[in-house]
């Protein structure tokens, strides 16, 4: 699948079949994630992949945005201490969010190319998720990506195009 097809075909999937996602597929998605760009090549991201039912149930309790019953969730966390060391104040405040988002997008596009559905989630309590996942203090969850075999593929929402760009200068 070429990149543009993957970009335009990806949807936010919130309904999954019961079929588990093979571990080699999850590792392939992880590989896609770590090939994302990161600020100053910091690579301060850390990933916990949740597939086990008991932990998934607990994670859902503190993640209102984690909808449906996905067989796998990537918890994308950041080492905030390392980020501050590498990126100064801007690291933990801004760069970690950008880096997590770029890793998430790589996961979602790669998953789509593999026939999987995904949804990126910011609606969770980071402290509560960190505690459940036994993360050390400096590791902070920033995003989650649910992964599974889609039960329903939502229609594409309308995209603005003509209204959102200019060449050379805004309103130019």
């Amino acid at each position: 699948m070429d990149v543009m097809t993957a970009i335009k075909g990806r949807r936010s999937v919130r309904s999954f079949t019961d079929q588990p996602v093979d571990q080699d597929m999850l590792l392939k998605l992880l590989e896609a994630a770590v090939w994302a760009p990161s600020a100053g090549n910091g690579q301060t991201w850390r990933f916990v992949i949740v597939t086990e039912e008991t932990m998934m149930k607990k994670l859902k309790m503190v993640s209102p945005g984690l909808l449906g019953d996905p067989p796998a969730v990537f918890v994308i966390a950041q080492d905030m201490a390392l980020s501050k060391q590498k990126g100064g104040q801007m690291g933990p405040e801004t760069l970690t969010k950008m880096d997590s988002a770029m890793a998430a997008q790589n996961i979602m596009l790669a998953a789509h190319a593999m026939g999987l559905g995904t949804c990126v989630i910011a609606s969770f309590h980071p402290g509560a998720a960190a505690k459940l996942l036994d993360m050390p203090e400096q590791i902070v969850p920033t995003l989650m990506v649910t992964v599974g075999h889609p039960a329903v593929k939502p229609p594409p929402p309308k995209r603005l195009f003509e209204e959102v760009y200019w060449f050379e200068a805004y309103n130019g």
Partner: protein, 98 residues
């Protein structure tokens, strides 16, 4: 479903509501009504699994499930969904199935 299973499901719902309350302080405004109708749907699911639901409750849940993701669409779509759901509930008020 035994008592422990029922309590476990209710605990999950309580946790969802409590964490939502905290997170909604900073989340988009429309997530609030979304979480409320989603909670209603989840509650009906739990009651259904425990054999304590009813046709009208299941109908309300189905109505919610069919339209709740309009929260991710336009404001008009979501408002329309909520408005029609209100009157769906109103129409079921006296329909106790007795």
């Amino acid at each position: 479903m035994d008592d422990k299973g029922f309590e476990d499901k209710i605990f999950g719902l309580v946790s969802y509501v409590v964490v939502s309350a905290r997170n909604l302080l900073e989340e988009p405004a429309r997530y609030g009504p979304f979480r409320l109708v989603d909670t209603a749907s989840r509650l009906i699911n739990i009651l259904d699994e425990a054999g304590m639901s009813s046709d009208r409750l299941k109908a309300v849940r189905d109505k919610i499930e069919a339209g709740k993701y309009s929260a991710m669409g336009t404001e008009e779509e979501f408002e329309q969904f909520l408005e029609t759901t209100v009157f769906f509930v109103v129409d079921a008020i006296d329909n106790t199935g007795d």
